[in-house]
Subunit: 334 residues, 2 copies
């Protein structure tokens, strides 16, 4: 696969975004967030997703000129309107504001309605951790997973992100509420592999590890069966209520028209409570305890969430971002 230098990717994407109507500084940030996502190894939500993003700007789902605005403030909590702007720029602005609130109040919270797909949720976890705060955020999505006990997509795979800052490498959990994404199912199918664990139901309603059968039935499993299903419902409810935005059932079930999402952002400022050195030590000890726990397979030591990211990030920065030729050609043609 071709390797393209990070800066070339970013400037190419930024050029496209400016032509679509994004102001310079916003085009640069939006492009950087896409490039960083690929750089960090989350290929499904980075450069590979850019063509779809462009299509959504063109079909009016994403407004390139729209910026989020605060609707109401109360102490450490705010409600924002994303005004149908670019999802990653909106989420970045919301987390930035949340971090600021946490520096004043110890904890901050922003609920944002009327936004778009934030691409990689982990982006805003890394953003918080880089700012030295504990970050948490979640988003609802269009209905793309059947609830536990159901047969039709009716809940979102609502990603949940929790990030902890650490000098030796932030801990960043970024997980969706389905056991596998459609992107993951496609990858396994193309490689001719079965899933490592059951990922959904086949046409006969039986649990299966066959990715193609699940793509056909559209019956993905919520992670943890009834647990992920219940968590998806509650995350959706809180985000829609606090932002006065759409809940999953009110969002168009169409990847190219999936707009009007609701999101929650939280930040906790550790320095507010003092004793930073002790906190850092506690985080390091949790990591150490995980690393010294015996592994089932000798060459597969246990990793904390986000542990692989830094290695991939360094490698991709050094040798260039892996971008499929067809994807790059399409971006260059836009």
């Amino acid at each position: 696969m071709p390797r393209i230098p990070f800066d070339d990717v970013q400037s190419r994407l930024a050029k496209v975004l400016r032509e679509l109507g994004f102001r310079d500084v916003r085009a640069e940030l939006c492009a950087r967030l896409f490039a960083e996502t690929t750089c960090d190894g989350v290929y499904s939500h980075g450069v590979n997703r850019f063509a779809r993003f462009v299509a959504m700007v063109r079909n009016g789902s994403v407004d390139p000129a729209a910026e989020p605005r605060v609707v109401v403030r109360f102490g450490a909590m705010e409600r924002w309107d994303g005004q149908q702007g670019a999802g990653n720029l909106n989420a970045y602005a919301a987390m930035e504001r949340t971090i600021g609130l946490s520096r004043v109040h110890g904890i901050g919270c922003v609920a944002m309605a009327n936004t778009n797909h934030w691409m990689r949720g982990g982006t805003y976890g890394w953003q918080a951790a880089d700012a030295g705060v504990i970050g948490m955020c979640w988003s609802n999505t269009m209905p793309n997973v059947p609830p536990w006990g159901g047969v039709e997509p009716a809940i979102g795979n609502n990603p949940l992100v929790i990030a902890v800052p650490r000098a030796k490498g932030h801990v960043v959990l970024d997980m969706a509420m389905s056991q596998f994404s459609y992107g993951a199912l496609e990858s396994y199918r193309k490689r001719g592999e079965l899933l490592p664990v059951e990922g959904g139901f086949d046409a006969e309603g039986k649990l299966t590890r066959d990715p193609g059968a699940i793509e056909k039935s559209q019956r993905l499993l919520p992670m943890g069966f009834w647990k992920g299903s219940g968590l998806a419902v509650v995350l959706d409810m809180v985000a829609a209520m606090m932002s006065l935005g759409n809940a999953t059932h009110a969002i168009a079930n169409d990847p190219l028209r999936e707009t009007g999402l609701s999101q929650m952002f939280f930040a906790m400022h550790p320095e507010a409570l003092g004793d930073d050195a002790r906190m850092e030590k506690i985080a390091d000890e949790v990591v150490a305890s995980l690393h010294r726990s015996p592994a089932a397979e000798e060459r597969r030591p246990m990793r904390y969430p986000g542990e692989n990211t830094l290695r991939l990030r360094d490698e991709n920065r050094r040798i260039g971002l892996p971008v499929e030729q067809a994807v790059w050609d399409e971006i260059c043609r836009v």
Copy 2:
């Protein structure tokens, strides 16, 4: 099974607690929380758990006289020391304080170290929802689940609770990070049933639905495999850091000596942002969309988290709490 009126259960437990050294008002509240847990149908963490609680007071793990105290305050966030007091009284006090913070700041957060098992986590979700706020809390535990990829218990099953107030019935999610608890495995084994889905590994390291095999191997599955494992690590890390308390690896792996836990409490005050009626409507619509989604089995409609609780609560209030004779006899002998 004998049915014992709610008030008789509460007053009997309170009497025992007073004899153990709990002040009157604290004995009543502690007893009420145990009775309410059984009344709500969470039998594993209510009256059935009381004898173990008494044993932990007697062996010094729980200090009946200790009350939680604030250590440091910063705006909407506080750090508390549970001083090894009764876990349910500590958690109740922490959530009460968190609710108060949310009324002033829109959102509130309390991190509490040095506390004990809070029994049913959902208790503090119901408490928040009854007060009209969105509540969220989590606790770490002793190491009782192997991390994904591991073979020995090294992470906690760290329960996570999220509660949304609603006039037609609060939505209360209360879930641990293991797919099944040891209590659930025991129930299935005693009934001679297989688990409905794989719940852990057998002695050969194969995934199994046999509850007895998992009890023997002690290799419970994290819910969602790598997902619940990662979430457990991050919840533990945040609670221990913010409270300056123990992380899971530092907690004794012994149900009778499982003390010094760390917990997080959050509350969001919907009225702070106004538009309560719209928020209520949004919550109701999420419930309605779940209820109208077609079910895989006709007679098993989909339910929101907490939906069954009110029915059980009413029934058990009316006809008395189901308490096994042996459990009741033991409590009466204390």
